[in-house]
Amino acid sequence: MSQPLIQWNDEQAMLADAAWDFVRAKFPMETVRRLLESRDGFEHATWQEMGAMGWLGIALPEAYGGSGLGLGSLACIMEAMGQHLCATPFLPSTLAMQAILAAGSAAQRQALLPDLASGQRIATVAFTEPHGSWELRQLDTVATMAKDGYVLQGTKRFVLDYAAADVVVVSAQCQDMPALFAVEKAAFATASSRREIVTDETRRCYELKLDGVCVDSACRLLGGDISQAMRHLELAGAFLMAADLVGAANGAFELTLDYAKTRKQFGHPIGSYQAIKHPLVDAMMGIELGRALVYHAATFLDASEDRQAEVAVRMAKAHANDIMAFMADRAVQFHGGMGFTYDCHAALFYRHSMWARHTYGDAIHHRRHLAPLVL
């Protein structure tokens, strides 16, 4: 390939600096711990600030209130949020916006995107189903045409921040074709939803039972190739989660590195022992490589959504999964007895890892897709 492996402009660099500063200031570990107990898992004021800074529209064209920097530019935001285990509806709202952008008509985009980009409203996606496949086009949920609209039948899992959301983008099989619906939350009055218990208590996941929910015909996104849009969403989800995971791995790493420098056993800081020191060096290398792959994916994703972009994104997610699995494990182990407690921050990273690694594809899944692309 003649294209540089990584490209990054000044605008992106400034954005990255701002993201790191913001997250560091807003999400000390005490805040993360406090939010574990809250209903929504995030503070609406923080969300408003993110909207005001223009972060929610970074990947949207200017026409819809965005700044047109592209999805790749979100890498540093997701990475910073991952490092500090910040939960906001940034991921689901971004994916919902990408869905509307990719699949909505001009009118639908215009109606929905500006309010989401400003943070005035929050969106989420209801894609995952009980069968647990990461292939978004594998759908058991069915949309049947009815008078004035569609009737949805099925169950959705891992609907992030549903309680806080105003708009939900739902996928369903409609006349043997995948379809997307951008639905106002009010329409789900008859649906049953409940919060799911997941290992990662920084996240809010919901089950949504669509037991004959009726949605207006106007909700169906009709502006683009739905299959293409869903492929884009799979990659967008994997990309954002890769950045989150690399950040989280680094968060767990920094936490453990600090502990290794201060905790003493047998008269010496544990970080002076090679059994701790060398795996930390390996972790650091894996994290650096992960960052490189995330920026590489960002570069290619913004350049064009071709095969190369898919390769880069899947590589990033596969690697990010593996390094997070390694680092979360080492974080618990190297904290010794403390690491086995709920109050140790290593536990937060470990439990986040179980969620994040299995969201938008694990390493085996992505490598399986990579084989025909790179071999």
């Binding site: 995952t128 009980p130 069968h131 647990g132 496949s133 990461w134 292939e135 594998q138 899992r157 891992f158 799911e196 218990i197 997941v198 290992t199 990662d200 996941c205 089950e207 003493k264 056993q265 047998f266 008269g267 022992y273 059994a275 701790i276 699995a325 494990d329 618990v332 182990q333 010794g336 007895g337 690491g339 086995f340 407690t341 709920y342 109050d343 140790c344 290593a346 536990a347 470990y350 439990r351 179980m354 969620w355 690694r357 299995h358 969201t359 694990d362 085996i364 899944h365 399986r368």
Partner: protein, 399 residues
Amino acid sequence: MEDALQALRKEVAGWLARNLPPRPAFKLPQSFLEVESQEQLDYLRDWQKKVYEAGYLGMAWPAEYGGRGLPPEHQDVVNEELARVKAPFMFNTIGLFWAGPTILRLGTEAQKQRYIKGILSGDDIWCQGFSEPDHGSDLGNAQTRARRQGDSYLIEGRKIWTTLGHFAKYMILLARTNPEAPNKYAGLSFFLAPMDAPGITVRPIRKITGEYGFNEVTFDAARIPADTLVGEEGQGWQVAMAVLAFERGVERGQAGGMVSFPLTVADVAALARQVHRDGHPAIEDPLIADRLVQFFIEERAFRANMARAHHERLLTPSRPFAPMFMGKLYGSELMKRLADFAVTIQGANAPLYLGEPSAIEGGEWQRSAMNAYGATIGGGTTEVQHNIIGERLLGLPKG
């Protein structure tokens, strides 16, 4: 003896078929490390008592203290049968597996008379006071003080990771009687401390799983009788090492039964047949199948290695105790990797956890994956185990 064992196996199988308790409605602990509630305790204590009263626990312990004085192979047969039907584990683990054999070996006649039977029946629950907040794996550095005062010792200090501490009647306690001893090990003594002594406070600690089960125990001038001392003053390190040899399986003499619900590769293979990934049963993915085969090999090798301990001629002459020495280190790491893999294959549903109705197999694998660190950290971390084995078994110089 073969015939007797065969008969015993049949007898136990029959007994289990009649007496195995149904799984309760409430959540059971996965091991003795996480007994949280009275109802969990009652269930497990009832089971232990039932097994003991049927004559299936402490079978190789001396009859005069409550055992049956049989050759250890009898208990082995019972243990295998208990594992086969996945019977509940023996919750009074510290007594049955570590404290009991130590008392039998190193205790006074009076101590054996006083403590052994209650351990077997489950009436007397035991906990362990070894680790301290500042000295986890570094036991030799224990700073909890024991000062002789007439017929008592006054205990001052803190112990941590005290499993069952909130239910225990006794603690095996490592404390410093002589801070001026020529070396730090010579200053330690070993006690069978009553937990109802005034001045003892037990504070529960929450585990990474979100559950409770172990504690921090504070001794504030707690007075315990002097005859709870095991061996002489200053011999505490040797007694503690004996305990650890039982704890790590380097030596045999444990009462019997299991310490946790056993995880087997067959269980994970069964899970892989059920769970779907991207539309297919997980087991159809060649990578997952290969990983399972690797686990099968490890599990079989681990069991065959332990079986080899009975064949002196098949042991490596330069390191005859290798199978026993490596049991804790290898076994705990294997179980951790296996549980983690069982979570991984669950795909998109892997984050669902204990208490979630749609969690796969109730989220028990996620719980197992986290609980597995209890064994890779507790009783000497994996890192410390590597040092111990490298130095004691392989003769490599200390760092």
